[in-house]
């Protein structure tokens, strides 16, 4: 009986940790979504698949590198750094600097960074995936492509940034949230 009680006690502890870990992940992101500053990032969506998390829209930004101030060189191996941003007039994020030490003020988020040739610093943004329902993700990509052909669609994501964390809020095509856009454009079908 003692062994059973001991095992149950240990199991209760394990259960607690197993639940706390995903809850803590949730809590951290919710805090960022509630308190963070809103930024827009221009994005080029394409639609791939993750075996564990399902279908998503992969986001490319085209702004993953900046010219670093002269005299500062980052090693070519990836390491944790901070991307300092400020908003432009339209609310889009402008990367101001990439630093290895946590900045004391301003808006910044953690990212993997590494140095390139010609004083370039490369960043791997921590928000490259926008998960959607299985049939919606290819439609979102298709809608974006169609819009690009018509020279009108611009896609961007809204990201909340707070205390070094960045969490995606929504994906917009033509200034319309993607789910709303797909409702308004039911004909945008995924190409086989």
């Amino acid at each position: 009986m003692k062994t059973v009680s001991f095992k149950l006690g240990c199991f209760a502890l394990v259960v607690l940790v197993q639940i706390l870990v995903p809850l803590q992940m949730t809590q951290t992101r919710e805090k960022v979504l509630q308190r963070g500053t809103l930024y827009k990032f221009r994005a080029n969506p394409v639609d791939p698949y993750d075996a564990y998390r399902g279908r998503y829209v992969s986001l490319g930004f085209g702004t993953e590198s900046i010219e670093h101030p002269k005299g500062v060189q980052l090693p070519t191996t990836r390491q944790e750094g901070y991307v300092v941003v400020r908003p432009d007039d339209a609310g889009f994020a402008v990367v101001e600097d990439v630093v290895l030490q946590r900045p004391s003020s301003g808006d910044y988020f953690k990212a993997r960074v590494y140095g390139g040739r010609d004083q370039q610093v490369w960043m791997e943004y921590p928000f490259t995936r926008f998960y959607m329902e299985e049939d919606a993700a290819p439609r979102a990509e298709q809608a974006y492509r169609q819009g690009r052909r018509d020279n009108r669609a611009e896609a961007y994501i809204t990201v909340r940034i707070h205390a070094g964390q960045a969490v995606i809020e929504d994906l917009f095509v033509d200034d319309i949230p993607i789910h709303e856009y797909l409702r308004q454009n039911p004909d945008s079908r995924a190409q086989p």
């Binding site: 095992k7 394990v14 809850l23 490259t128």
Partner: protein, 436 residues
């Protein structure tokens, strides 16, 4: 001794008593020593297999159902959905501990189900908040939250699931875009070894111990390849040959014989495959040209790990051979020959910058060891050993024929010759065994 062997022994006892080989007193002492022969229930094993398979399938299904991404629900609802399978699994787990703690099927099944629930809950939180694909962090969190279940439910399939998880994590760290250190492989491995030790101590010839031995041998074979930093070209040859020699030297201590002994067939197979690889020029070319396998900086601690393994693995092989030396010197010599030769060839290639001598040495090794084992196999009437020797020679011949620029007709004839030699030798051995 496992139940199968015990039942055979107990079945023989009446005959041995009648023939006067054993006294009734000796038979009673045998029974007292080995104890009751527990019946092996085939339906019980089937139940465990089906419970494990069922739990694995349901768990995978849960991950896929959740991965569907239920856009219509709010974030908190989706997080609740993510946690639901985990909570259900944990509820069943508590019930199993209270009411079915001795049921292997329940324990194995619920461990895998909770394991799938853990993976699903972390993955879905990542999906809800659009987290990037930080796979190494995902796998590490998953296996660390899972490992206590292996001990709480004494689950061997759980242990194997964990081992696969560590390998996937290590592969992701080494070849993916991760900031983790692959050196974590060793402490992660240490976490599972007590389970394997307890299983072995409880019943050295049992199903659990056998499964875990096979899994661990395979795990280290793959794992070593994943964790090596490969800053020093060619060091892997020394480490791998020594590793397979260690397996071979551990084999006599394992209760099972022949193909049922994973140390034996992994050790023999590994040594043969590595020797064949080293008989080509490409592994030595990198070493001679001093070309590292990867560009860029190497992690200092990982380089130290490689160097330590390069020293410790041959040292351990030597130690084991020294402890085994009274048993069978030919066996020990065969186990140690390749690592010793590889160390010499490695040093020659490194210091003289020539790959000719190492290649010649390796080809000679394959031929001499093949002939030696064939001869010893003949002498001892050991069919497996003779065939292993024959296989070494045959594979050496086949690969050299592929290598050399010889006419097709000549190659064809050579293949026929090797095949006939194989058949005749086996026929002779089988007939000799039958006569004996």
């Amino acid at each position: 001794m496992n139940g199968h062997h015990l039942r055979w022994l107990y079945g023989e006892l009446p005959g041995l008593l009648d023939a006067g080989v054993l006294t009734p007193d000796a038979a009673a002492r045998l029974r007292a020593h080995y104890g009751e022969a527990k019946p092996v229930s085939r339906s019980g094993i089937a139940l465990v297999m089906f419970a494990t398979l069922g739990a694995a399938l349901i768990g995978s299904g849960v991950i896929l159902v959740i991965a569907h991404n239920w856009d219509m629900f709010s974030r908190p609802v989706r997080v609740a959905i993510a946690l639901a399978p985990l909570l259900v699994g944990q509820g069943i787990g508590a019930w199993v501990l209270l009411r079915r703690a001795h049921s292997v099927a329940w324990c194995e099944g619920v461990t895998l189900f909770i394991g799938a629930g853990i993976g699903a809950s972390i993955a879905i939180v990542g999906q809800v908040y659009h987290l990037p694909a930080n796979l190494s962090a995902f796998y590490l969190t998953w296996i660390l939250l899972f490992i206590p279940l292996v001990y709480l439910f004494n689950s061997t399939t759980g242990a194997i699931f964990y081992l696969v998880g560590v390998l996937v994590w290590a592969g992701n760290v080494q070849f993916g875009l991760s900031t983790h250190s692959v050196l974590g492989f060793w402490p992660l491995t240490l976490l599972i070894l007590p389970h394997a030790f307890f299983a072995w101590r409880a019943n050295p010839g049992g199903v659990r111990a056998n499964l875990l031995a096979r899994a661990l041998v395979l795990y280290f074979t793959i794992g070593i390849g994943l964790v090596l930093e490969r800053a020093q070209p060619g060091l892997w040859m020394v480490i791998y040959t020594a590793y397979f020699a260690i397996l071979l030297l551990l084999a006599p201590a394992w209760p099972a014989r022949g193909v049922r002994n994973p140390f034996l067939w992994f050790g023999c197979g590994g040594l043969l495959i590595i020797a064949l690889i080293l008989s080509f020029d490409s592994p030595w070319r990198d070493l001679v040209r001093d070309r590292a396998y990867r560009d860029g900086a190497f992690a200092t601690w990982a380089v130290l790990q490689d160097n330590l393994l390069g020293v410790l693995a041959p040292a351990l092989a030597l130690l084991l051979a020294w402890r085994n030396c009274a048993r069978d010197w030919i066996y020990n010599a065969f186990a140690l020959a390749l690592p010793a030769l590889t160390v010499v060839a490695f040093a020659v290639a490194l210091f003289t910058q020539t790959d000719v001598l190492p290649i010649v040495l390796m080809n000679l090794y394959l031929f001499v060891s093949g002939v030696g084992l064939l001869y010893t196999g003949f002498q001892r009437g050991a069919l497996a050993m003779a065939n292993y020797g024959l296989l070494s020679i045959a594979l050496l011949a086949v690969f050299r024929f592929f290598d050399a620029d010889l006419p097709i007709l000549f190659r064809g004839l050579a293949f026929i010759l090797v095949g006939v030699f194989f058949l005749v030798t086996n026929l002779y051995l089988v007939r000799r065994e039958a006569r004996a």
